[in-house]
Amino acid sequence: AAHDFKIVYIGKNTGNPYFDSITGGFQDACKQIGCQFEFVAPATAEATSQIPLIDAQVQKGVNVIAIAPNSPDAMNQALDAARAKGILVLAVNGDLVGNESHRDANILPVDFTKTGPNQVELMGSLIGYKGDIAILSATTEAPDQNTWIAAMKKTLAEDAKYKDMHLVATVYGDDQPEKSTTEMEGLLSNYPNLVGVIAPTTVGVAAAAQVVQQRGIADKVHVTGLGLPSEMRDFIKDGTVKAFQLWSPYNEGWLAAYFADGVLNGTIKNEVGQKFDVPNLGSITIGDKNVMNTQAELTTFDASNIDNFNF
Amino acid sequence: MTDASAPDLPLISARGISKSFAAIEVLRDVDLDLRRGEIHALLGENGAGKSTFAKILAGVHRPSRGTLALNGEPVEIHTPIAAQRLGITLIHQEPISFPDLSVAENLVLGRTRGSPLAPVPWIEMAREARRLMDLLGVKIDVNRPMRGLSIADQQMVEIARALASDSRLIIMDEPTAPLTPKEVETLFGIARRLRNEGRTIVFISHRLEEVRQLCDRVTIFRDGNKIATDDIANLSDGDIIRLMIGRPLREYMKKQGTTIGEVALKVEHLSSPGLFSDISFELRKGEIVGLGGLVGAGRTDVARAIFGVAPAQSGTITIDGKAVTIASPSQAIGLGLAYVSEDRAISGIFRTLSVEENITAAVPRQIAPQGVIRRAIARTLASDSVRKLRIRLASLRQPIGELSGGNQQKAILARWLLTDPSVLILDEPTRGIDIGVKAEFYEMIGDLAAGGHAILLISSELPELLALCDRVLVMSEGRLTADIPRAEATQESIMRAAVPRSSKTAVAA
């Protein structure tokens, strides 16, 4: 079987540390498998900016295109053209919501329906399940964040366990540190008895932690959310942040590479319900709409384990 | 800095100086010696090459051929700074100013030495500036910004600069054009003193009488060639003019018997605080009314007010018996007014546009009947004007910025003549225009009047007013001080009305 296939991963945009660790997973997996890996990404996360990259990759004749789509539908024609040439198209970390037919399979870190509840539970455990909390999100139209926030609201409203936690505001930092910071400052000024802030976005959680650190109010306001260990390590160490969550982006790349290898070599059938084993990840199941998850629950990072993670 | 070297050795000797702009040779093998301690006049028609030669001496242009020697030593004058270091200063034809800087700063700019971070001596600077201004008898607040100064005032600042930089060669390119007789006198006094100190002065002017008063020797240019250099005493006005234009000059005689019709323009109690007040006069068809006065008297402001550029605060304007309010120039034009403004550089030409487009700019409807331009019409209109006014140019499509000062002025006049206006306001129309063309201008203005146009002629040149006008209005410090019929108009009567009651000369508001 040919294991030296060419696989490219098209990120949302360059310089996004999140994709550095996904890329790491791809690279290491390819070392094991023997495939050739390349990472490309547009300078900006503009919806159309990935299209020329896709076209170019098709012309270069890669075997697998893995992509973190910047838009649920802008790339449809381009991707169809690729698949028409027999290229395997995987959406990795983010899906073509509503346009699943334009990719072969989708790899997500976790079952995103779990993200909301997990985050609420973590926040509850930090603040003793009572008090005012707020959410600092990415952009207003970010699809993932919006689904998670919806889930959080649902959990807070329906689960009696959280009846004493009140969501007082949801603000958007557009994933820019400056804007996230001013929004955080605004929250603190507007809601004096705020006890917790959930920032389900890596830029936002770092910015929020920074504000708390500078104001020296870590004991009053608890910050948590989805963050990268590399960015949050300092805040964990100086106690600004007790704990935050994420999955392993690294494993997404790892899984994607092994899945592609399996499909290209016929050892894996890309059909709903199929099971297969992946080194270090154990058994993976192809779920509804050909979606796969690298892990069941989110990983929680705190002082005890932060140093075990290198991404 | 008088030189020890032999006195008979010329300060500057130019040999075979030639200059071409874009293949057009505008100076041809000019040899010229400038002696120490002389005032040397450069005369010539518009575009003869006077300014270009001056600019070459001052390092603004490099000659395409030829050599310069200073005290017998060959020199290369690469830049204006180099010229300054050599003690050569040029007062430009169009005064140079930095509108946002104070007058004092404009005076010292470029002369101060020292490290880039050297502190600016604001106090001393202002004191020195005041001293120079007093020397010239000009009353300008040296701390006000240059912007808003009348051209005259700007010119005086230029002159003050030249004095301050103690140079051995000072070139004045038509310095007197915008000045009052009084200011001219002061300037001449200073010029003579500088000469007696052994400095050399080059004086460019179109006014023969001034040249006679001031200069020792004259050099005459025609079409970029040096025609002659001689002591002024050895040349009659006739000789000079013949040498300049290569033909004897027809003396202009005001046509008599132009029938003066009914009132075309009537202005009553026009006032604009700070600039002028209570201006009232009539202007009849076929009549040429002069508007005299010292520079800064407010004539331009009156003109600007009538033409709707800066409408007056109060007062009424009546055209052909109908009271009108003119809020914008386009309205004024619609009402048959035309205004040739005084400073062409700022408010006259469209630098980047061709001569053709500049000439036809004011008659869009003629060249574009349905809004679409007819090149053919435009070209014929333009070339006719060019022929009529003898505008010297390479091509109708040449950017007007490349023409000489005088020729630009002609083009602008041509533009307005095309509009065939019923009331024509001319603000210093012949400033910087040579005698040859002046005569043509006078004739044209006369014809226009004869053709039933009403003409308001703003001029600082008394002979011009006397020769042309049926009546002469005089302004002083923003008020009308006299309305003199042709018969009684004399230099004296006009000047008497022009000199401000308060003896000080008018200055910037």
């Binding site: 919806a47 020329p52 012309q59 | 386009s330 700022i346 408010s347 980047t352 869009p364 679409v372 950017p399």
Partner: protein
């Protein structure tokens, strides 16, 4: 004609040379670049910029600048898309007058602000760049309009079906260019734009209706940005409140200035701008083809802008010495 014509020719010659050189190099490295197939790719890349650049050109010639074209494009596109979403029954071609009209209005707002308050256009349109973008967010509730809401015939205008080689979107761009050429060179208003830019101080004294001309150029720029807006919906099949038209102004202005239009007003030709747009198009098409990583692309884009201008400039300088002083001072 000779003098001026000569200069103009030279101007365009410079950028023309730049294009040839660039395409030659790329063609040698990747012969595919010169294939007809790829030419179509380029032609599909440029129409939006081309159309907006025609408007920007007029604004710049009038010695103003319009930084808000990107946001105008976004707003017009969003409003039109919303209309289609809420009233699917509306025939797609009605989207054009709507988009163009909206664009014209936004342009007029720019012009009026500039005129009434005598503010520099660069800063007024910097303000409206944010303002119009914000309005797009508000109007759309920060939600993207997905492709199912964009009428299929509209999307079809960008698809280059074999039946005719050039898709509609390209043909529209060509028509706009021809109109712009005619307007700039053969209409009274067009020439008045040049005059105004050439000497704003003198313009009113010559009876040039400064207000009217200024409003006209901004309105035209806005209208063309609006047209580009609906074509964006056609080309990409969706409208996104934050992405659509983002950074567009930079590309448009780059194209205009590369095309030899003087920032100091009064100078510029349609031909030049067309070439400027094409150069940028070639570059954007070439970089991915050459497999140049995204990290390097913006560096190259920047280099191209500068190099193109340098070539243009040096070619122009030669033989136009007479003007150097002036331009030197202006540069």
């Amino acid at each position: 004609m000779n003098a001026l014509r000569a200069i103009l020719l030279r101007r365009e010659m410079g950028i023309f040379v730049a294009i040839i050189v660039f395409c030659a190099i790329v063609g040698i490295l990747k012969p595919r670049f010169l294939e007809l197939d790829n030419l179509r790719v380029i032609l599909l890349l440029v129409p939006l910029i081309m159309i907006a650049a025609m408007g920007e050109m007029l604004v710049v010639i009038a010695r103003h600048v319009d930084l808000s074209v990107g946001s105008t494009l976004g707003f017009a596109a969003m409003m039109t898309a919303l209309m289609f979403k809420l009233h699917p029954e509306i025939p797609f071609y009605l989207g054009f007058p709507v988009a163009i009209g909206i664009g014209a209005v936004l342009g007029l707002i720019n012009g009026i602000t500039v005129i009434v308050f005598r503010l520099p256009a660069i800063i007024v349109t910097l303000g409206t760049l944010y303002l119009y973008r914000g309005l797009t967010f508000i109007a759309s509730g920060a939600r993207q309009i997905d492709r199912q809401f964009i009428p299929s015939p509209l999307k079809a205008m960008s698809a280059n079906s074999p039946s005719y080689w050039l898709p509609w979107i390209v043909i529209i761009a060509v028509v706009v260019v021809l109109l712009a050429y005619w307007f700039a060179n053969h209409t009274r208003l067009g020439r008045q734009v040049y005059a105004l830019g050439s000497n704003p101080a003198a313009a009113p004294l010559r009876g040039i209706p400064v207000t009217a001309v200024t409003l006209a150029v901004f309105a035209i720029s806005g209208a063309l940005a609006g047209l580009a807006g609906i074509l964006y919906a056609s080309r990409w099949g969706f409208v996104n409140p934050s992405n659509t038209g983002w950074g567009f102004e930079f590309q448009v202005i780059a194209a205009v200035v590369i095309g030899g239009v003087s920032i100091n007003g009064g100078v510029g030709s349609v031909l030049g701008v067309v070439l400027g747009v094409l150069l940028l198009g070639c570059v954007s098409a070439a970089l991915p083809l050459l497999g140049i990583p995204g990290t390097v692309q913006s560096a190259i884009f920047g280099l191209v802008i500068i190099v193109a201008l340098v070539i243009d400039q040096t070619v122009r300088e030669r033989g136009v010495q007479a003007l150097t002083t002036t331009r030197g001072a202006r540069a």
